[in-house]
């Protein structure tokens, strides 16, 4: 149900974007953009799981409980984007993110010493995305973005590596502070984006299926 809602929401954004773009003045044609930036990935629940023994009557006797999450992470992104038609761009974005896996222990049957349980996780990803600029005001333009890709997640000194399927959708804006002339000078600008990152597979603790987490991305962009 959540996925369906999300899909509808994104579709709504894109439909709205299409109608808005038709009413806005054409943005300066820029065939390509290179970008580099940083990303903040919000916390992501990894679910709860109990370490259970089985009582003689078949019921569970919990040794301890775990509540798991992927903490906020930071990373870097680079991107190469092409304008395929007015207002519509596609881009490919490789990235690297580092975050912390967290497990909280509860209700230990023997009152074990409990400290924080954490492990560093790295994610290498590559994503393809489409951006639609639906409103342009001077040097600033708003866009909707959706994409999907693949990630390799590594834990514990790269001892464990798992693949994940990723997706994302969100809204953002681009601002040029220096607009160049095609073939002569380059444009320089910033891009900021707020989005929902989706993930399935990869390193797992107790989560199931797709998981969503908020993310914010800031890019320095060069247009030419």
């Amino acid at each position: 149900m959540k996925h369906a809602d999300l899909a509808l929401g994104l579709a709504g954004v894109l439909v709205a974007a299409g109608s808005a773009a038709a009413q806005t003045p054409a943005s300066p044609a820029r065939a390509k953009e290179l970008s580099a930036g940083v990303v903040w990935a919000g916390p992501l629940s990894f679910g709860s799981a109990n370490a259970d023994l089985i009582r003689p009557d078949g019921s569970s006797l919990t040794l301890f409980e775990t509540k798991n999450s992927l903490g906020p992470g930071f990373g870097v992104r680079a991107g190469l984007a092409f304008e395929v038609r007015r207002g519509l761009w596609v881009e490919v974005v490789p990235g690297w993110t580092r975050a912390s896996l967290r497990t909280e222990i509860g209700r230990d049957a023997e009152n074990a010493d409990i400290g924080p349980i954490r492990a560093r996780v790295m994610r290498f990803s590559i994503e393809g995305a489409a951006l639609y600029y639906f409103r342009v005001r001077g040097k600033t333009a708003w866009f909707a973005r959706g994409g999907g890709g693949w990630a390799k997640e590594l834990a514990d000194g790269n001892a464990l590596a798992e693949d994940a399927v990723t997706g994302s959708g969100g809204l953002g804006l681009r601002h040029w502070w220096r607009e160049g002339q095609r073939g002569k000078t380059k444009s320089l600008g910033l891009r900021a984006e707020f989005r929902l990152d989706l993930r399935r597979g990869g390193l797992t603790l107790a989560e199931r299926g797709w998981r969503a987490a908020p993310a914010a991305v800031g890019h320095l962009i060069v247009g030419f």
Binding site: F46, G47, D52, L101, A112, I114, I117, G157, T204
Partner: protein, 327 residues
């Protein structure tokens, strides 16, 4: 509560081997070599109330099937016939049957081995179920009787080379023995009460153990291990019980620190992230696992390792050290 044990002589000999090695958790260090598979066994042609020799053989065959059906292991058994011989006779044949042992009032069954002390190759292994108890082969169990297939699954684990698991919680019972509060391994040394058939089905800890001994190439490719040390003030803690919990599957597996350095290995684990916990071995009689002359340190507090431990497929993650505190 009634306990099941392997024969004392075998336990002493095997526990000494465990004490001096760091091979892994619950393994006796002995096994049936591939050339001796399928394991041929005979059944003593003696009925007891409620169970015929044929029913015993059928239940034994199913119990063997539970072990042989573990993923990616190479195992097999073959019923060789009914015989008049009793188990526990060094005759070169592996015999399974009922024997009345009133001198063992808390023992449901026992396993005896003959094996090569140098190579660890098992040449014969006999099992008896104690017929002073009432037994059942009812599909759903009988609340007044012990389930043959469940107990046989446990005893066959020994026959295959597994020792006792400590994945369970117990409480002392008035008059001696312990009551099982809960457990998560067929190889836990204390049986469920009469009528319970849960031990017909292997748990993750049993699967890890059998994969560690009889795993095939696919098991070697897919399964990994956790290894490390348990220390108290810098010294190794012999006999510490280390548990690995996989939150993604809910599976629990465990092993022991098996030398004076406190080193342990838990093998046969599917790849993934594990929560690792160590506790003193205080829920079973120490002699269920180690020989009577072994000193096991149980004077420390349980604790969790501070990181999720990654187990890669076909290998081992970084070695970990768990520094426990004295009680």
């Amino acid at each position: 509560m009634i306990r099941r044990r392997v024969t004392s002589l075998a336990v002493i000999a095997l526990a000494l081997m465990l004490s001096s090695g760091v091979e892994a958790y619950l393994l006796f260090g002995i096994s049936w070599p591939p050339g001796s598979l399928p394991i041929r066994y005979y059944v003593t042609n003696r009925d007891v109330p409620g169970v015929t020799a044929l029913q015993l053989q059928t239940a034994t065959d199913r119990a063997f099937g539970a072990w042989a059906g573990a993923p990616n292991v190479t195992l097999g058994s073959q019923f060789a016939g009914f015989v008049g011989a009793n188990p526990h006779v060094a005759d070169g044949a592996s015999v399974i049957g009922f024997v009345s042992r009133p001198d063992l009032p808390r023992v449901l069954g026992q396993v005896f081995f003959q094996y090569d002390m140098v190579t660890g190759v098992i040449t014969e292994s006999d099992i008896f179920l104690n017929s002073i108890f009432e037994w059942s082969v009812a599909p759903g169990g009988d609340v007044n009787r012990f389930d043959v297939q469940s107990v046989m699954t446990h005893e066959l684990g020994h026959l295959l080379g597994l020792g006792h698991s400590a994945l369970g919680e117990t409480e002392p019972r008035a008059g001696g023995g312990r009551n099982v509060l809960g457990k998560r391994a067929v190889m836990f040394p204390i049986a469920y009460p009469r009528g319970n058939v849960a031990d017909r089905t292997l748990e993750a800890d049993d699967l890890a153990g059998i994969s560690d001994i009889y795993g095939n190439a696919e098991a070697n490719r897919l399964l990994g291990s956790i290894s490390g040390r348990v220390t108290l003030n810098g010294a190794g803690v012999f006999g510490a019980h280390v548990t690995a919990f996989n939150p993604a599957t809910g599976a629990l597996s465990a092993g022991y620190a098996l030398d004076n350095q406190g080193r342990f290995v838990i093998g046969g684990l599917p790849a993934g992230l594990y929560i690792v916990r160590v506790e003193p071995l205080d829920d079973i009689d120490l002699t269920s696992v180690f020989s009577e002359d072994t000193t096991v340190n149980i004077n420390f507090r349980p604790m969790f390792y501070g990181k999720q431990v990654a187990v890669p497929a076909g290998g081992a993650g970084p070695s970990i050290e768990m520094q426990v505190r004295a009680k």
